[in-house]
C-alpha cells in the first residue's frame, strides 16, 4: 500500500514538472500563442515598495530579465535606455534583475544610468516566465496585456524596433 502511494506521488511530481516546463510564458509564445501576461509584482531595486505589471497596463511593456553578471545584459542596457527615450509615454521597459545580488544589480543600474523601472526577483518569477533562462530574456507585452514576442538571449535594436513598430508605429 505504502509502495503504491509512494509510486503515485513520484508520478505526480514527474507530471507536475513536465506541465510546469511546458506552460511557461516563453513556451506558449514559442508555440505561436499570445498568452495573457501573468502579473509581476516585485520589490523595486531602488527604494521601497513594489512595481506590478498591471500598474503599467495601457502601455506596451518590454519585460527584460537581466543580471549584473550577464555579459549580454551590458550590451542591452543602453539599447533599452534609448528605446525608453524613443517611445516615451507609449512604451516602457520593466527591468527585472533576477538571480542576482541586489547590491550588484544596483551598481549595474547606476553604471548604465538606467532610468526605466527596475525590480528584483529571486528567480521565482523568471522560472515561471522562462523555465530555463538564458539571460537575458525579453518579452514584449501589448497594451491589452498579451505577450506578443519573446527573445531568448541578447536582442538588437532592429529586432525590438520592428516589433514595437507593429505595436506602436514609428518612434515619436
Amino acid at each position: 500500500m505504502a509502495a503504491v502511494v509512494l509510486l503515485g506521488g513520484l508520478v505526480l511530481l514527474f507530471a507536475e514538472g513536465l506541465v510546469r516546463n511546458q506552460t511557461t510564458v516563453a513556451a506558449l509564445v514559442d508555440d505561436g500563442q499570445q498568452p495573457s501576461a501573468p502579473n509581476i509584482q516585485l520589490p523595486n531595486l531602488f527604494g521601497h515598495g513594489t512595481t506590478s505589471l498591471t500598474s503599467l497596463r495601457g502601455k506596451v511593456v518590454l519585460v527584460n530579465f537581466w543580471a549584473s553578471w550577464c555579459n549580454d545584459c551590458r550590451t542591452e542596457a543602453p539599447l533599452f535606455e534609448s528605446l525608453q527615450r524613443d517611445y516615451a509615454g507609449r512604451m516602457t521597459v520593466l527591468g527585472v534583475d533576477a538571480s542576482d545580488f541586489v547590491g550588484d544589480g544596483r551598481r549595474f543600474a547606476q553604471q548604465y544610468r538606467i532610468t526605466y523601472p527596475l525590480v528584483h526577483d529571486t528567480g521565482s518569477v523568471l522560472n515561471r516566465w522562462v523555465g530555463q533562462p538564458s539571460f537575458p530574456d525579453t518579452f514584449v507585452i501589448d497594451r491589452r496585456g498579451r505577450v506578443v514576442a519573446y527573445f531568448d538571449g541578447a536582442v538588437t535594436y532592429a529586432n525590438l524596433a520592428s516589433v514595437l513598430r507593429n505595436q506602436l508605429g514609428a518612434p515619436a
Partner: protein, 156 residues
Amino acid sequence: MSGRLRALLGLAVATAALFAAPAAALACNGWSEPSMEQQLMCPVCHERLDQSYSPVADQIRSNLFRWCAQGKTSSYVKNTLVGQFGEDVLAAPPARGFDLLAWLVPAAVLLGGAGVAGGLVLAWSRSRGGPGGPAAPGVDSELDARIDAELAGFDS
C-alpha cells in the same frame, strides 16, 4: 627513499592533516568555503556550487570569500543567499511543507528496506531448520518398505 623515512613522512602528513582540517573548518567563523559550496546550488544552472563555473556561481563564491573574511556566520550566509536567490540556492531543501517529502521519502524507503531485509533474514533462518525449526519431511512408509524388500533381495 628508505622505508623508515617514508613512514616518518607519512606520519608527518597525517599529523598535519589532522590539525589542518579543524582549522579550515573554523576559518570562517565555524564554516569553510569548500563545505559551504557543497551545500549551495548555482541558482541558474542548477548544479552544485562547487561543481559550477557559471558567472553567477563565481559571483556567489566571491561573496563567500568576503563573508568568510568578515567572520559572518553560516546562518547569515545561507539567509542572505536565500533572500537574494530564493530557497533553490540551498542544496538541501528545507524540512517543511512539500519539501518535507524530500526528507521523509528516503527515510521511509530506508525503514521499509530494513523491514523487508529483516523479514527475509528471519524467513531464511527458519527455513534452515535449526533446533526450533520444522522437522525434515519423513520418508514415505510404503517406499521405505519397498526399499527394504529390494535390499533384502540383494542380501539373499
